[in-house]
Amino acid sequence: MPTLAPPEPLLEKHRGSITPQEGLDQPCWIVDRSVLREVCADLKSNPQTRFDLLLECFGMDFPDRDPRFEAVYHLYSIRHGKRLRLKVPLPESDPTVPSLVPVWKAANWFEREMWDHFGFRAEGHPDLRRILCHDAFQGHPLRKDYDPARRWICTEKDMYKPKFDLPERPEDMFERMTINIGPSHPAMHGTFRLTAVLDGEVIVASDVEIGYLHRCFDKMSETHTWNQVIPYTDRLNYCSALINNVGYCKTVEKMLGIEAPPKAVWARTVLSEFSRIMDHCVCNGTTLVDCGGITNFWYMFQPREEIYGLLEACFGARLTVSGCRVGGLLADLPPDFMARARKLLEIIPPFINDMESLVDHNRIWLDRAVGIAAVSGEQAIDWGWTGPCLRASGVGYDVRKAFPYDLYDTVDWEVPVFQGGDVHDRYRVRMAEIRQSLRIIEQLLDRGIPEGPHIVDDPHVALPPKDKAYNQMEAMIYHFKLIMDGIQVPAGERYGFVEGGNGELGFYCVSDGSGKPYRVRVRPPCFPIFSTFSQMIQGHTISDAVISLGGLNVIAGELER
């Protein structure tokens, strides 16, 4: 088990306030809240540790323990490739933590979410209010004593009234105008609300409101068995549903101490890359629609349709595939899998080439995209970015390279990195990644499908084949037990992560040994990315704001869960 000893000076300074916890999947310290901010600032600035990325923070509720609550922080050091989990115990009578916004800007929305879901007050937070639930909501839904189906009526009066931090202005300026875009607006992808104050055409201040698609993933997964959570994971980033399945199933498999058979691992890698292509296609296609180029959208949607055909042949669904099961795949690959996949490798590149020839030297696109909403690498890290958006800002962190899983370390591929950090580079990084994905798939197809079963042969994890379940007593009992009680995951916790379409997609699963998850927490990659939208568009025009949102590829299902 990996551990990370606190650096001596830090330990010396806060003796008694930091206790390393042993025996977990990654290094973990229990930190007293009185020193939390100081410890974090030190961990960030100390060249030995340099934890520059705050991946996420969230709450935990253990009604039987004293103290009842816990705030959990996941840190990552890009320079050293090290991970650290901090746990901060909080008493029920006074669940407050010091805000970490002065240390990492990424903490801003995560702390608001902690307040919304658990009622942990972050002392010193600049704007602590609900983020996902509506303003008429009472209580904190992720506490264990909250009834999952208890709803509150929201009327128009309860809708959020935006507040602005308006800068001083010279006398001779135009009259300022406040406009509201969304949530039902195509440029806001149907679920975000942006209110902007314009001075002429320039945005001087803006306020972003989300939560219009908060579907309570966390609470729902606590009321279902481990396998029943898989369809919910589909609907996180629904543009590349299979990657979510893979991330979740891998985490649960590690908790169980099993490994998927080679055939399943191979298929997961191939289909994840196809899903990534779909994800990037829809992102680039819609970005270009947002600046008026509808032809590109048709061009980018056709590869998706073709890939849907393959997914449908494998799992029977087009979009929300639920293709993985804990321990392997839903079903064996169809006999014509290889032929279909090869065909796709022929079909997709011409679409990509056509699209690039339409766009890459298009004066209108270049004028609208180059230099718009540029973000430097340092800013991006401070804001907690991962994935293609971070790689467009010159930081080459990709989970598939940094922490290779499945078959990524056995194939030859590169991580595309661009330096500009603007809308144009975000577009280019995605196009380059599509080509890399095709490269990975081609090498894997050349190897051929590994022989063997598609799911582990363990009756406590995988359903027995139907012919056995119908004809053998033992198999029928296993089938019944697995359906009624679910998989029995041993008590423990684990953070598993894969490279999703938008960056590091993490699942923090906690089991108490019953048949249902105690907690499934998703690290949504677009959450920290979108949290910076307001700052990014300041000083740009409304039309720039629209395409910079497209380039971020914010998927509401994943953002708001």
Partner: protein, 201 residues
């Protein structure tokens, strides 16, 4: 001109023919279903074959509201407002399990079906429905509109007027811990309408 003169019946037929062959949909897309809706309007399924490709994002310019995706309690007032802004005659297609019934999100922030707040004409099941499913749903709506004769002074308008006028009869609903609040909702809505009215006055 009233009554069933040759001119009005023929005009009704002409109008019906034109209307049912060129619905202008407003896609109220929030989630996964919106991605399948994109498939429906894209090249492969090409809903333009039926004449329904003029997608309008303004409620003032559209006549069918396709609710594609989960509607949360936070989104409820927005959906209601969009529906109210659409001119008559108007129809609603509820696309996907979430919009029809809340789907498998039996949860603290998810509306258990959009028919809690607006009337629905066609329910398309599926999570998400296949593009063929949605196209079938739109064609069902087309048949329904053709069936409802004299719709402009007719049933549809009357029904919408009834809904706008006041709370519907409490429905017999067995799964209803969350729907029990329906009457509250209607009451709040009514007060709100009143409020808006007095504000306008």
């Amino acid at each position: 001109m009233t009554g069933e003169s040759w001119l009005t019946t023929t005009f009704d037929k002409l109008e019906e023919w034109a209307q049912t062959r060129s619905f202008w949909p407003l896609p109220f897309g929030t989630a996964c279903c919106a991605i399948e809706f994109m498939s429906v309007v894209s090249s492969h399924y090409d809903v333009a074959r039926f004449g329904y490709e003029v997608v309008r994002f303004s409620p003032r310019q559209s006549d069918i509201l396709i609710v594609a995706g989960t509607i949360t309690d936070k989104m409820g007032p927005v959906l209601k407002k969009i529906y109210d802004q659409m001119p008559e005659p108007k129809w609603v297609i509820s696309m996907g399990a979430c919009a029809c019934s809340g789907g498998f999100y039996r949860a603290y922030h998810v509306m258990q079906g959009i028919d809690e707040i607006i009337p629905v004409d066609v329910y398309v099941p599926g999570c998400p429905p296949s593009p063929e499913g949605l196209i079938y749903g739109i064609l069902q709506l087309k048949e329904r509109v053709q069936r409802e004769k004299g719709k402009h002074g007719g049933e549809k308008l009357k029904r919408n007027a009834e809904i706008a006028a006041g709370p519907a009869a409490p429905r017999d609903d067995s799964r209803s811990s969350s729907r029990a609040q329906r009457s509250d909702l209607d009451a709040t809505q009514a007060t709100q309408d009143e409020h808006a009215h007095s504000g306008a006055a």
